[in-house]
Symmetry: C2
Subunit: 569 residues, 2 copies
């Protein structure tokens, strides 16, 4: 491509709203053009990168035995109602919904489990045609609460989504492993530094699931890492550091604690360490058919992992109780809810089990009890369970190391759904014994646009983007130093044609601009190699090659073919 013909535009400044480096550089390099909040045009440069990432994804998935299809973006509401997800998604307003001229309801697909299950269950009747692994690459939609970070969190975004179907739990696990390997290869080929992280499936289900997290300071995800093991914070099983609770039980006392609505305030006022305070949280659990309130106790220095609560109770959604609900259910107010005389199901995190002589609220404003003990003063909770939000320094059951926090960008997710959806949607096949069974299903995603942005987060310098060769929009930038020197211009043109024939994808800067500006543009948009036809050419017939990371060589134009082959450009 000749730069004079390329539709591109570089900018000195990124728009003010671009607050992470990848968004800034992609905007400055003219990769994106915003159409509306969270809606972007991918320019020729961006689209070349996205197509290259897609091609690598396709190659590895096809090699792994997957087959590409394409499903519509408009989904009839009925199939989402059947799976029970219409309510779940619309209640969070993440789903774009619309009606056609006949008043039928649709949503814009944020994911395609319902549609693909419908396809499979109509066409696959026997275990003989399993396993099956289908995928597509296309746009997805989410009515984001706060679209931001450019391609990281957009309203419309390019994704690969895939779905596997197996005839047994073991078959499902095999497919999961196949996809895990394929993803591993894909992200390696894309030159990313990433971790495979145990994950909590959130809304999708509660089977085994892992995320592919690209390490990045600006990552929105908190990853807990202990040695070789990593988990996203929602899924992390963690053991809080022990606290030396006394073994001699003391006498329970009621004390005045005015305005101590937080653990901090209570601890400061009473001089009791937070570890010796039992905190009680009141939650509303939303199920498809009902709502329930539950109280969760936790050691005062720690936080409840709300997703763990949701999953444990099989709820669709969790909401902290509001002032009115607290008043109605406990007669008290936030800050003074406690397990004593509580007319609600009470559960506690495992951190509460060893507690002795602890302090807790008693559902009376400005009052707490101290030296409270299980059984003696209050019954043990219905269950001690893991509701703990992991923190740095916690012990990890999978590693001798304690956890530390890393931030990550989730670029991939693999998920063993088991028979969750296929049972709901009554998607059955005949097994070897002639029995009807629900399919074992897996779901697998890769954010194509987000992967490109994550790549920029990891590969850039003060001058701009440094694309890995595999996905650079062009691999080699060529220019003559002086556009008035016909020999240089001719040589640059010759090299351009030579490399084009080799399939190297060169970009010839044939603009009548000064060299500095040209090289700046090349560095900003991140072309891996620059070939400069200048003084060395005039003097000794050699061109200067500079890699985007600064290595320089001089070569004759004739030797460029072998140079390109050697570097696998």
């Amino acid at each position: 491509m000749r730069l004079s013909k390329l539709f591109f535009h570089t900018f000195k400044e990124a728009p003010a709203e671009a607050d992470i480096i990848s968004h800034q550089l992609l905007e400055r390099g003219g990769y994106l053009r915003k159409v509306g909040k969270g809606l972007f045009i991918y320019t020729p440069l961006m689209w070349r990168v996205l197509k290259k990432i897609s091609a690598i994804v396709r190659e590895e998935l096809d090699r792994a035995g997957c087959q590409e299809i394409s499903m519509p973006l408009l989904h009839p509401a009925e199939i989402w109602r059947e799976s029970g997800r219409w309510e779940a998604f619309t209640s969070e307003e993440l789903l774009y919904t619309l009606k056609d001229r006949e008043d039928h309801e649709y949503c814009l697909g944020p994911t395609h489990e319902e549609v693909v299950v419908n396809l499979i269950s109509n066409w696959i009747t026997s275990y003989k045609n399993l396993p099956l692994n289908l995928y597509q690459i296309g746009n997805k939609f989410r009515d984001e609460i706060r679209p931001r970070f450019g391609l990281m969190r957009a309203k419309e975004f390019l994704m690969k989504d895939g779905y596997s179907f197996s005839s047994s739990s073991e078959g499902m696990e095999e497919q999961y492993e196949v996809m895990r390997q394929a993803y591993n290869l894909i992200f390696k080929r894309l030159g990313l530094d990433f971790a495979i992280v145990e994950a909590h499936g959130g809304k999708i289900g509660k089977g085994k699931s892992e995320e592919f997290q690209v390490k990045a300071e600006i990552g929105e995800d908190v990853v807990m890492v202990a040695g070789d093991y990593a988990s996203n914070v929602e899924a992390a099983v963690a053991i809080a550091p022990d606290y030396p609770f006394e073994s001699t039980l003391k006498e329970r006392k009621r004390i005045d604690t005015p305005n101590t609505t937080s653990i901090e305030a209570l601890s400061a006022f009473t001089k009791i360490p937070p570890q010796q305070i039992l905190k009680t949280m009141l939650y509303k659990l939303v199920f498809t058919d009902r709502e329930e309130f539950v109280a969760i106790g936790i050691r005062g220095d720690r936080q409840v992992n709300e997703l763990k609560v949701t999953t444990h109770f099989g709820a669709m959604e969790i909401v902290a109780a509001n002032e009115d609900e607290i008043k109605k259910l406990t007669g008290s107010q936030a800050g003074f809810i406690g397990p004593i005389d509580l007319k609600l199901p009470f559960y506690a995190d495992q951190t509460c089990q060893p507690m002795t002589n602890f302090t807790c609220a008693v559902n009376v404003v400005d009052i707490h009890d101290t030296n409270v003990n299980w059984e003696r003063d209050i019954p043990r909770p219905a269950e001690f369970y893991d509701f703990l939000l992991a923190e740095e320094g916690d012990r990890c059951p999978h590693s001798p190391d304690t956890y530390h926090i890393q931030r990550g960008i989730e670029v991939g997710h693999i998920f063993n759904l088991g028979t969750l959806y296929t049972k709901k949607l009554n998607a059955l096949f005949q097994d070897e014994k002639g029995q009807m069974q629900p399919f074992w299903m897996g779901t697998y995603g890769i954010g194509i646009g987000r992967t490109a942005a994550a790549c920029v987060e990891q590969h850039h310098d003060e001058k701009g983007i440094i694309w890995p060769l595999a996905i650079a929009p062009f691999k080699v930038f060529i220019t003559a130093v002086s556009t008035k020197n016909p020999d240089q211009v001719k040589a640059a043109e010759g090299i351009y044609e030579q490399l084009q024939k080799l399939g190297v994808e060169p970009l010839l800067d044939d603009r009548n601009e000064r060299l500095g500006l040209k090289l700046k543009d090349s560095d900003l948009i991140g072309i891996p190699y620059k070939i400069i036809v200048g003084r060395a050419f005039d003097q000794e017939g050699k061109v200067e090659i500079e890699s985007r990371t600064g290595e320089k060589t001089l070569l004759t134009p004739e030797s460029l073919s072998s140079w390109a082959k050697e570097l696998k450009i």
Copy 2:
């Protein structure tokens, strides 16, 4: 690919709603799976075909100097309001509209003029960066009144849309010509029998425009063909056969014509030929800011081309006046509207100009006047203009031949928009003299899915689809006659591997089924060549090759490579 692994399903019967052959065969061959009315999943077979068509489109467009981008499918309403098309499209309910969580309005893009003009006008400031020709391949949406014919008229469909920007009218014409050539090459490579047809732009504008129409009996479009010239019926300029009107003017008479609400009835009752009756139609023209009524006269044997009326008056929409409106405006009723004593603007088609001694209604029920003559009895209309709907046998101004009707499937459309949109959207560049000018814009579309369906309409027989080599999902089908004959099976496997290495895309039928069923499936899904390892192999070491159109040869497995190369498979 091994057929045992391929996700596919063939059916003996097509669903009842599939009423054209392409829809039937694509359903029977398992290319499509309906998700809802006008919404389809493209299975691995279909997606392979669509990807191949897309690849050919990309190749030719890139060669023609176009650049690929990708624009969002969600369009903020504001940019459509700016161009004035929000009202036009929503009034016809063709636009899917929706709101986000912040109550901002969007539509699902049926076309991207607004979005691309927004992009261009922000980035291109000088004539030096023109011309520019951008395209994308992606899904489009139309809330069709009657989704049908499978991929032909769906709610969501795969399209290539492209947009060119030039600095002058001549530059625009050049781009138009470049695209015309590229389209010509594309449809030729796709093996289609098509015509380039002069077109009426409909809603899009009134510059020069042509359609690429694939000839097919089931085509929804009526194409008027005269010699080498073709035009869609909406755009066709036609000269109705002359009628020998008398030159001596007769005495005007008022006659009773009870219940003669149609030309047929009136002619039958009065014995006056339709050619001597002046028919008057009453229309409501809808403009962006107002509505107007107009009466159009036409010779009684012919029909008004409503699109010509809309364009002539620059209206957004045209609607036949209803009973109430007729009553209010003329005091009369349908069938008895005439130019006499009419208090409305009256225009007439050119067919009316030579009329003498004609009969027409007088806005009184059950009454007509005969022997009416222009000027003597009624003033000439405001204008005689071409409002004629062309018919078979009409004369054509571009050819000595008269028109005959052909039916076609519109697979492509190219359009010189001039400065219609860029003026509205205030999209300007600086010309050579430093003056600000609106861009000259062209718009170009190819229905990718519709092209695939059109291809099936033209290439099929009673056994199934006959894909042209260029877009067949697999090019060669291979099978052993007896799955119990290990030599045959081994040879089939060997040929499969050999062809795979050549990049031929073979499909190995390794199913344990009888030969007849296998060959039937291959013919139904339209694979161009079958290689059968059977008796000839056992006896003389040769395999049978049969083309989809019936030619048979015997070859040794060793010579298959040169066979494949020769046929450019």
